[in-house]
Subunit: 357 residues, 2 copies
């Protein structure tokens, strides 16, 4: 594999994504060179086997592909440097695609650049959090611009494929509109909900259930990174925030007037939105159902449960565990294809588990 | 057990919560009577063993406790009926506490009423979704008003205890402020995010990751029920929506002006909010960490993984499975106490699993 990939690949930036990409490419024996302003990160990444340190253009064969994997604020300058100092195809893994392109508009080598954005990440950062499997089955947006060469686009797509990702081809503008909607807006509204919890009396927060935990989880992400992402995609984000403000005004008016029709219309739109999200990994959405099982709160019981679930020949789509340290018991939610839920429920019940749908 | 609980208990409404409560009380041999306007639901609930059908006041001993478990719109009238037709203590399990109390303000029997609200539910509804374990370890807000008798409050707390819940005592007003913040506001903002997905091109939605799925999950809830909840708690919800609107304006301004300081302050407040949420079941928040494991996508492997995790003597706090139908492989995230994550990682690694932190 890897025949179509221009080599060696130079990865600029050995944080979580850069190092993970190096590890993923090394699985296919791609020649990977690494560079980072931070010598400690570079040492860690090479030590993990993500590639070898790059000593500059005189030290070996010409670089075939440069992957810029630095924080959003520095993406444009590193693409510029790569286009100016090499003849390689250049791509990046940044969260925003239009802003760096605008900054590079006059660069004579721009045909050699095609952007990319793997939808992969973690709450952790840095090379020690890296893993070659981080891209497995995830969407990787490939975003050629109007003058990207076919060779540049093909190289970036081959890179995404070798990393194990699923390619989603979008223009830079479409990409930025898409992530504004599916990532940046959800993040910012999650932040607004979480922000309202700060001044709450602890006895009020004692009523927190799974809903508020889910809605606010992403709000815990690194503010420094999100500052760069949001300001880098300001136009698309601002457009959606304006729409939300308009809807919020309608909602406030409906609540003030007790207008159930208006409130219902907004709530129905939300339901429709949740149904618009495709299944994980872009597959078709299949209807899922949950089977709940009461499990004594020690590790052996969970193993026994999954052994019994396995013997039921049902594919488990998701699992949630909600257990209570005070009670030595837990509730395990097993999510399966809707058509298999009754079977799993009965099968576990016949094996002595306390289950319910 | 159950000595302190006035019996028999009459449950008015055999939906998810009423039927689940009957099943939970029957575990302790509490005498449970059931009534519902819908004869089919009542038949189902009695058939499940949640109690026996109530034939009216002449058919047996005086009712000791009435639990109103009907949709929010009908709570006040059913409390009124119970106070007027019995000498029993009366409570309810509704999501909103001030509005029914206001409607009942002049009732001469009001001292016999003390409200309640178990923080338990499901995306499913009706008696067939019922389970006796639904309240296990969940908060149950007990909300006596200014003139509730001590006996009424004690009876409601005993009810919550027998159902397996953890009691959180709040005034009706505090309760409504608390759920506005921890449940109703998160729901409505989740709805606004989800509503923005409806018109998105499918290729944009292909970039949806776990973040937007988490933020929008609750937006899929029943619009008819949420209409009643939100309008029933309109004052508290309106106050928080006004605060969010103010913050949203600050956010929009920060994005428009590229004001990173202002944006950063909002993002930091969100991080602080996520940290304010107590651990599940109100316990102290312990720092958690995740270990990721690549698992071949068939049931036996998952059982083997949990057997190995069990042998590592690490208590599993949560599990998420992210698998890719197209690739026959999955990524399992195992959440454990931060101090045990390295041990689990190493232990699973030594058993041949491909793991990372």
């Amino acid at each position: 594999m890897g025949d179509a990939l221009p080599q060696p690949v130079l990865i600029v930036g050995t944080g979580l994504l850069g190092t993970s990409l190096g590890l993923a490419l090394r699985r296919h024996d791609v020649e990977v060179l690494l560079v980072d302003r931070n010598p400690e990160n570079l040492r860690t990444a090479t030590g993990l086997g993500a590639g070898r340190a790059y000593d500059g253009p005189d030290s070996g064969p010409d670089v075939g592909l440069v992957v810029v994997a630095v924080p959003p604020d520095h993406v444009a300058e590193e693409i510029d440097r790569a286009l100016s100092t090499t003849d390689a195809v250049v791509t990046d893994v940044g969260s925003v695609k239009t802003a760096p392109l605008t900054a590079l508009a006059d660069h004579e080598g721009l045909a050699r650049y095609a952007g990319g954005h793997p939808m992969a990440g973690s709450e952790r950062s840095g090379p020690l959090a890296a893993t070659p499997t981080i891209f497995d089955g995830r969407p990787w947006a490939v975003t050629p611009h109007a003058t990207s060469s076919d060779a540049a686009t093909a190289a970036v797509e081959e890179l995404a494929r070798l990393a194990g990702a699923s390619i989603v081809r979008l223009s830079p503008g479409e990409h930025d509109a898409a992530v504004a909607r599916t990532s940046h807006l959800p993040h910012l509204l999650s932040v607004l909900v979480a922000g309202r919890l700060v001044d709450a009396p602890p006895e009020h927060l004692a009523l927190s259930g799974q809903g508020v935990r889910d809605v606010t989880r992403v709000a815990g992400g690194d503010p420094g990174l999100w500052q760069q992402i949001v300001t880098g995609n300001a136009d698309a984000v601002a457009g959606l925030l304006a729409q939300v403000r308009e809807q919020l005004d309608v909602l406030i008016d409906a609540v003030d007037r007790g207008d159930r029709g208006q409130l219902g219309a907004i709530l129905e739109l939300g339901v429709a939105g949740t149904r618009a999200i495709p299944g994980k990994h872009g597959g078709p959405t299949r209807p899922m159902a949950s089977v709940f099982v009461s499990v004594p709160d020690h590790p052996g019981e969970l193993a026994r449960l999954f052994a019994d679930a396995g013997a039921s020949d049902v594919n488990i789509e998701d699992v949630r565990i909600d257990h209570d340290p005070a009670r030595e018991t837990g509730l395990v939610e097993i999510v399966v294809d809707e058509t298999r839920a009754d079977h799993l429920h009965d099968s576990l019940g016949s094996r002595g588990w306390e289950t319910h749908r």
